[in-house]
């Protein structure tokens, strides 16, 4: 197969036709509506802006809800011990309740809240991704 090589050396030659490359991605890129939504995100059109605002609001609401759980669950304890001193004298298996709640139970509680947050935050992001990639839904 004789391939014509561009003649680089000689001056004044006509430049060879630009070689065009066809890749699979261009063939599969037919979901133009999804493309448009992505472009809207990047160019900060009003639609894209509203989508991002929605995501930020959802994530912030989630974080605030879970902090409220911690604020009540842990933050309420000093106040509770202060107004109900008898609670501090209650013992479970020979150990006073405040020691068990603070020294042991608080850590699994924090980890549980953290685990719930990671799951829910990833779900929010997945919803957002689905919305952007398949806007017709």
């Amino acid at each position: 197969m004789a391939k014509q090589l561009p003649d680089v050396g000689s001056s004044g030659a006509v430049p060879p036709p630009r070689r065009s490359r066809i890749v699979l991605a261009e063939i599969t890129r037919q979901d133009t509506r999804a493309e448009r939504t992505r472009a809207e995100l990047a160019q900060q059109t009003q639609v894209g802006e509203a989508l991002v605002r929605g995501l930020v609001r959802a994530q912030l609401a989630l974080a605030l809800r879970l902090s409220l759980v911690v604020a009540i669950g842990l933050g309420g304890l000093p106040w509770l011990f202060a107004i109900a001193p008898s609670l501090g004298r209650t013992t479970v298996a020979g150990v006073n309740l405040p020691w068990l709640l603070l020294g042991v139970a608080s850590f699994p509680f924090l980890i549980g809240v953290g685990w719930a947050y990671v799951r829910l935050a990833e779900r929010n992001e997945q919803d957002f991704t689905d919305l952007v990639q398949r806007p017709e839904r």
């Binding site: 000093p78 608080s106 850590f107």
Partner: protein, 547 residues
């Protein structure tokens, strides 16, 4: 103390730290390797490294000492130190990683585009870093003096020198391996002895932690007083003691009441109750606020997030860190509790921070098991000093090299490391009297009143302006720094002023948030024009990003 295993154990930990550092040096070839470990670190390694870096002298020694001294009220320290990672996870982890900021000053410039704010943030990073480094070095000096009888400056200078050399030569890649190793060492060093201690406690017939007549000495004891105190002897006599005084007690003698220490069983066992005085409750809430919100503002914590590949990984790493740190914090409390039984003399001498390293031999005797376990604990304590100081030093040096020296080269970083390590080493020699955990608590309060509002509002609120952020950091962080300086240098206070200054977070954190929001709203027109693009970058998953 005649334990001949302690010094070899400390030397071994130091050599392993340096050894892994040099192994890492061979791997660190480019500036990127050097500074952010080329982001080639798996989440588990990264999480162990973050945990290893975070568990400092305050966690390893300080918490047990505080529990021994004050009882249930100070359990908020470990809870808060762990909960800080939850706040970090909820509000900061993923967006911060996506922002691409490596340090806090980077974040300021990226989000608000202000050089002035960047300089202010740099000053705060250096201040918090040094404030946190001093107690680490101090803990090292105290530990070596306690277990090996060396002079106090030796331990402090030893740790400062090892860490400075290691960070300067190995960079971040090296310390990631070192930190991960040190997390597991610290966990082992507390977990293994505690099993033996619990068995010994069983074998001793389960002596009561709070006997009805107050704590007693189990063996004949001679106490050398280290801090001024007022003792109330069992027969009602009141006696002033001064540093250097020697007191001798026979086995079975009751421990005298010590001023400022919860010697009484009820004070120690029960939470401070409300009543005519709400200062205890205020201090508790202030401590909760400082530790919950301060973690996200510590310079050495944030640097680590850059080594995660993306935002989702940053979130998962933080969750693993929370679990690792939570598991660790179950242990120091047990040392404090058992210390009430086996080392009550520390209440008199004032050296409660030494309870973790002294407890194994005090409970198990100076046989082989007791000495080996004491050596293990001492090695763990040194791992704590080395790892936290390395992390702090890396971040302070990083900020100094890029923002103060203005050079991004490896040589600039090395010079910055020497500066960043030298200053706290000098400071540590002059402040041996401060309580390790108290200083660390103040560092948290400063971080919570400066960087926490900056990060939270910067990430979640479009209305933040550079002027508002600067004003909030100056007001809140400045007030917290003022409280630190008064605590460290000022005259002793009493009553409400003392509480407000010793635990400032409950008023400085709201102050910072309020000023930041109010000034930002007043200067609304200065909000950056590219805020929408920044929000897109901070909050959308990387998979969607088009470059």
């Amino acid at each position: 103390m005649g334990n001949d295993f302690v010094v070899p154990a400390i030397v071994a930990v130091t050599l392993v730290t340096v050894g892994i550092g040099f192994y890492g040096l061979r791997l660190a070839r480019t500036t990127s390797d050097f500074l952010v470990a080329s982001r080639a670190i798996s989440p588990t390694w990264n999480a162990a490294a973050i945990g290893g870096e975070y568990l400092s002298a305050a966690s390893f020694l300080g918490i047990a000492g505080l529990v021994l001294k004050y009882g249930v009220d100070v359990l908020w320290y470990p809870v808060g130190f762990a909960a800080g990672y939850l706040a970090l996870l909820l509000f900061v982890a993923a967006p911060l990683r996506r922002s691409g900021a490596f340090t806090l000053p980077d974040f300021c410039e990226l989000r608000l585009g202000s050089r002035r704010l960047r300089i202010l943030a740099t000053a705060f990073v250096i201040f918090i870093g040094w404030l946190y480094l001093v107690p680490q070095l101090q803990g090292a000096g105290l530990t070596l003096a306690t277990v090996a009888g060396s002079p106090y400056p030796l331990g402090a200078l030893l740790v400062a020198a090892v860490v400075t050399a290691n960070v300067a030569l190995g960079g971040m890649r090296a310390i990631t391996f070192v930190q991960a190793f040190q997390y597991w060492l610290k966990l082992t060093a507390l977990a293994v002895p505690v099993i033996f201690l619990a068995l010994q406690w069983q074998a001793d017939g389960r002596p009561a932690v709070t006997p009805p007549d107050g704590p007693t000495f189990r063996a004949a004891t001679t106490v050398v007083v280290e801090h001024r105190a007022t003792l109330t002897l069992p027969d009602g006599d009141i006696r002033e003691v001064r540093p250097g005084d020697e007191l001798t007690f026979a086995a079975g003698d009751p421990v005298p009441d010590v001023s400022g220490v919860a010697t009484d069983a009820n004070d120690w066992l029960l939470p401070s109750a409300a009543g005519d005085d709400d200062r205890g409750l205020f201090a508790t809430y202030s401590l909760i606020l400082a530790t919950f919100l301060g973690t996200m503002g510590l310079p050495h914590v944030l640097v680590r997030f850059y080594t995660n590949p993306d935002g989702a990984a940053a979130r998962r790493t933080t969750l693993v860190v929370l679990a690792l740190v939570g598991a660790f914090y179950l242990l120091p409390t047990l040392y404090g509790v058992l210390g009430r039984i086996y080392t009550p003399q520390l209440l008199l001498s004032g050296q409660t921070d030494a309870v973790v390293v002294l407890l194994p031999e005090a409970a198990l005797g100076d046989g082989l098991a007791g000495r080996l376990l004491a050596a293990l604990v001492a090695a763990g304590a040194f791992a704590a000093f080395l790892s936290t100081s390395s992390g702090l030093l890396t971040s302070v040096a990083g900020v100094i090299s890029t923002d103060v020296l203005g050079r991004g080269s490896v040589r600039g970083f090395r010079l910055a490391t020497v500066i960043a390590g030298g200053v706290p080493a000098v400071l540590a020699l002059h402040v041996s009297g401060l309580d390790v955990s108290q200083v660390v608590g103040l560092a948290f309060a400063v971080a919570a009143s400066s960087f926490c509002p900056l990060l939270v509002l910067g990430i979640w609120w479009r209305g933040l302006t550079d002027v508002g952020a600067t004003a909030g950091v100056v007001a809140g962080g400045g007030a917290a720094i003022g409280a630190v300086l008064v605590t460290v240098l000022g005259p002793p206070l009493s009553g409400w002023p003392a509480t407000l200054i010793a635990q400032p977070a409950a008023w400085t954190v709201p102050l910072a948030f309020t000023v930041m929001v109010a000034v930002s709203m007043a200067t609304r027109r200065r909000a950056p024009a590219d805020v929408a693009a920044t929000m897109l970058r901070l909050h959308t998953p990387e998979a969607l990003r088009m470059q």
